[in-house]
């Protein structure tokens, strides 16, 4: 009870009860202790001599990366195109697989809360908990290196992202519009087509474009584990210590990502 009567008859009001105030102080104290503890663990495993040396090492590396060797660009166009395709096809596949999963996972649309929903949620969690890079690592091991492994890695990661955001949108739909459609005698599929789909359409388009944008960034590194695209070239150049080539690749990746962000921002602005 945050109110409290004084002997004079006045009623005092506080935002929190004394118990709540104490609890908040205890939580802050625990937080500070955690930070101190983490600092100690990090301190134990760091070789500070290397860290003191870092600015000099960094300057040295930058010196070796400059000037960029622009001639390597001729070899980069094709891998860049591969990277874009990997992201786009992977996103498309992720959408195709993620949308049904979202409908199975949403409380409002699931055909069975006891069986289908937990399975769909499990698919979403497993897909989300594993990074694209790890998916790619697994797939390259299973099916050999190449762009296909990259596409599948992107798609597997995207299912969870699209599935989760879309099923949350499905659960936040206006129930009155659905009720009205049900009252006309519509079938289950028609309820989805007329009650749910129009309501989630802007969210769906936004999610898909946003994921495509993320996937372009992620697909640039998938080559590091052999899944094709520009990452493969990057890995090769780093191994050969060809730092001027690495600079060109960084610039190429930066430009690609900037363009994809611009495109996705434009598309999202057009939808909303």
């Amino acid at each position: 009870m945050p109110t409290h009567s004084l002997p004079s008859g006045q009623v005092e009001w506080r935002r929190r009860t004394p118990r709540a105030v104490l609890l908040r102080w205890v939580c802050w104290l625990l937080g500070v202790l955690l930070v101190v503890q983490c600092w100690q663990i990090m301190n134990a495993d760091t070789i500070w001599e290397f860290v003191y040396d870092a600015p000099a090492q960094g300057a040295d590396l930058l010196g070796r990366m400059w000037p960029p060797r622009w001639s390597v660009m001729d070899k980069l166009w094709w891998p860049l195109w591969d990277t874009l395709n990997m992201a786009t096809l992977g996103t498309a596949l992720g959408v195709v697989l993620g949308v049904p999963v979202a409908f199975l996972a949403a409380r409002t649309t699931t055909p069975s809360a006891a069986i289908a929903r937990p399975i769909a949620l499990l698919i979403i969690v497993s897909s989300r908990s594993i990074n694209s890079l790890i998916w790619a690592l697994l797939l390259v091991t299973v099916m050999g290196p190449g762009v296909l492994a990259g596409i599948l890695a992107i798609a597997l990661r995207s299912i969870g992202f699209i599935g989760k955001l879309l099923y949350e949108a499905l659960e936040e739909t206006d129930p009155k519009q659905i009720e009205a459609i049900t009252a006309t005698g519509a079938s289950g599929a028609q309820r989805i087509a007329y009650g749910f789909v129009p309501q989630i359409m802007p969210t769906f388009a936004g999610i898909s474009v946003y994921r495509w944008d993320i996937n372009i960034r992620e697909s640039t590194v998938l080559g590091l584990v052999g899944a094709g695209g520009i990452g493969l070239q990057l890995n090769a150049s780093v191994s050969r210590l060809a730092w001027p080539e690495v600079t060109v690749m960084f610039i190429a990746i930066l430009c690609t990502v900037a363009v994809s962000e611009w495109v996705s921002a434009r598309v999202r602005a057009a939808i909303i």
Binding site: D174, K176, Q177, E179, A183, T184, A186, Y194, P198, Q199
Partner: protein, 284 residues
Amino acid sequence: MLRIDDAKPMLRIRGLTKTYRSGDKALDGVDLDVPRGQLMALIGPSGAGKSTLIRCVNRLVEPTAGEVVVDGGPVTGLGGGALRAARRRMGMIFQEYALVERLSVMENVLSGRLGYVGFWASWLRRYPQSDIDEAFRLIERCGLSGMHDKRADQLSGGQRQRVGICRALIQNPALLLVDEPTASLDPKTSRQVMRLLVELCAERNLAAIVNIHDVALAQMFVQRIVGLRAGRIVFDGPPDALTTETLTAIYGEEDWNASRPTEEDEEDEAAARAIAARLAAEAR
């Protein structure tokens, strides 16, 4: 001479009871007959079970016990396709219109035909020409000519409710279930919408149950008033039979003769209600 058809009630409710899982008894053995062509107002305080009653008729809410018969066919106990077929004979009109906001007026009106057309026809918006003709007729009849391509979220409250009426009527219903049709509208629009409902019910000889808070508005337009209190019918009669005693029986103690609300009060109240509805919609 009465035809057999006219003698039979369009809606027949017997012993309708609804107990919610929380233990609240929303309806307690309601018996009600509504004949063809009758516009009946259901009044009562908030929580009396008005909304539950009409939702039990088309089974948006599952009744705990009792029987509902529409046009001679039982509705209670139906499932799947039979329930859907029964629902298309009952048009429903909602308090906050419940239009699909991102679809056009035409799509909203045609959605009233969903019970009659297959999935692919509805998904591809390939409705039979007869449905489209009827949709245009209704849009014009309800004063929305030329608005068929507008999106529902671009319309005013009164226009939206007219679209809601078109959607219910294109179902070719035998019975209209109307839930607080004017609660989100200003007094003038409220009267226009009620007048339209009265005219359309007369034109099509429809039975209708109208849940309504505004007793004065109900008295102005309907032929019969039923008062519900705590899930039981406590009044059933013509509008002029409503006295201060019956109002007290329905709503509880209150000085009913004290100053009638002036037009200004009504408008303020309607405006306040509209703001509250908008805030509620935004909160969702």
